[in-house]
């Protein structure tokens, strides 16, 4: 069904139409939240809050990229959660193994449809990327997540974050520079393909 028709119908209060949109965009919103928050449960909460907030404020949507509009709601939900965490820091419950030791890279996070080798590689990559992302200030993090991970163009990122285009360009360049520095510290943990690319271009 046409997205604009679904949006119009949802604006009139049709929850079914809105849920069609939810199903279409839930993955992009959840992954964005996950990269900003770094925790699956918090990301799920932020995503759910974002969709609820989106339905309530659907009449505020005045055209343009609906994806960018939704991404704005999810980044706002993430910022709210990050602020809340800053005020009331908590210790997350980590899964433990048979010896009651914490599992550093929980296997239950991985996709079950890939080989063990790929699984390890993916887990390493994800761990490194997430670690480096979390070292960025939230404003830089959201820009780099939207531009590089979600593949939004600069205008969409600017619309999502309600920042001028120049700010987006500047933040993205700074974020990439910091990420580069961070990734250099974990060079040996990066996937072989990535290491080969670097070695061939010293």
């Amino acid at each position: 069904m046409d997205e604009q028709l679904l949006i119009q119908s949802a604006q009139k209060g049709d929850l079914d139409s809105f849920n069609h949109l939810v199903l279409a965009y839930q993955e992009i919103l959840f992954n964005t939240a996950l990269r900003i928050m770094g925790d699956e449960e918090l990301a799920a909460d932020a995503t759910q809050e974002a969709f609820i907030s989106a339905f309530r404020n659907l009449n505020a949507y005045r055209g343009g990229s609906y994806r960018a509009w939704l991404l704005r709601t999810v980044t706002n939900a993430c910022y709210d959660e990050l602020r809340r965490q800053k005020r009331r820091p908590t210790t997350p419950l980590e899964p433990v193994n048979n010896e009651d030791e914490e599992i550093e890279s929980p296997h239950w996070l991985a996709d079950p449809d890939i080989s063990p080798e790929q699984k390890v590689e993916q887990a390493e990559l994800e761990h490194v990327i997430q670690h480096c992302l979390e070292r960025l200030p939230p404003d830089y993090r959201s820009v780099v997540v939207l531009a590089d991970i979600q593949g939004l163009d600069y205008n969409e990122v600017a619309a999502s974050l309600r920042k001028p285009l120049g700010t987006i360009k500047s933040r993205l360049a700074r974020a990439r520079l910091r990420l580069r520095e961070c990734l250099q510290d974990f060079w040996e943990l990066l996937p072989a393909a990535f290491r080969l690319e670097r070695e061939s271009n010293p």
Binding site: F55, D111, V144, D148, S170, A173
Partner: protein, 244 residues
Amino acid sequence: MNQQPSFRDIEKVSAYLDNQLSRVDRARLEAKLAVEPRLQEVLLELRQASSLLKNTPWRRVPHNFTVTPKMMGMRPPLPRSIPVFRLASLTAAVMLFLSFAFNFLAPIAAAPSLASESQRIQSGGGCGNDNPADCGDVAMEAPAFGFGGTPGEVTAMSVASLPQETTTPEPTPEAGLRIKEQPTEAANIAPTDLPAPNTSPSEKAQTQPVLNTLQMGLILLVIVFGGAAILIRQLNILRWRKRQ
């Protein structure tokens, strides 16, 4: 030309990676890249960092994030008949309350005059059988409470008309004999001769039914209209949930 590139150049390199430079800026930067190996390094590193992020594993959603009416705090619309039923049950309830209020307040308002009346009668009212006209005088002179008189006046008048024989002298054997021989005026008043006291409000209430017909009718109206409103509302909620 091995100097460290400026942030402005790095920003342009970053935008160049995403094809966000104008044609003029692009040509300028490419010319600069050709002569500045350090800037080429930056380009390579930023490209690697960017491509690494683009390869970030895509995580599956743990569950669907579809929203429900409950999450949204959505409530079914009220049927048109509901306000009518609500108003009817409310009106009946108010009328019922008022009727109870009148029934309870009327005896309380009348209580002071009845109390003073019964007190006066019990104390003999300053009149005995010998002179019944005295009673009539007091009754005529004492203004009734609620008709210009006050309870204070009534009590004062009653007390003034009381017989002054309440103080008894020390009994002596002779006096005792005299008492036996000559009975007092009070002894002459037989209990059966006293006027029967009025029945108290509580006794009246006992004789009357607890609820009169009007109150019963009002209670019935409240129950019927209230019940109908609740029933219609529940049916409407069920139908709305099915539709959702």
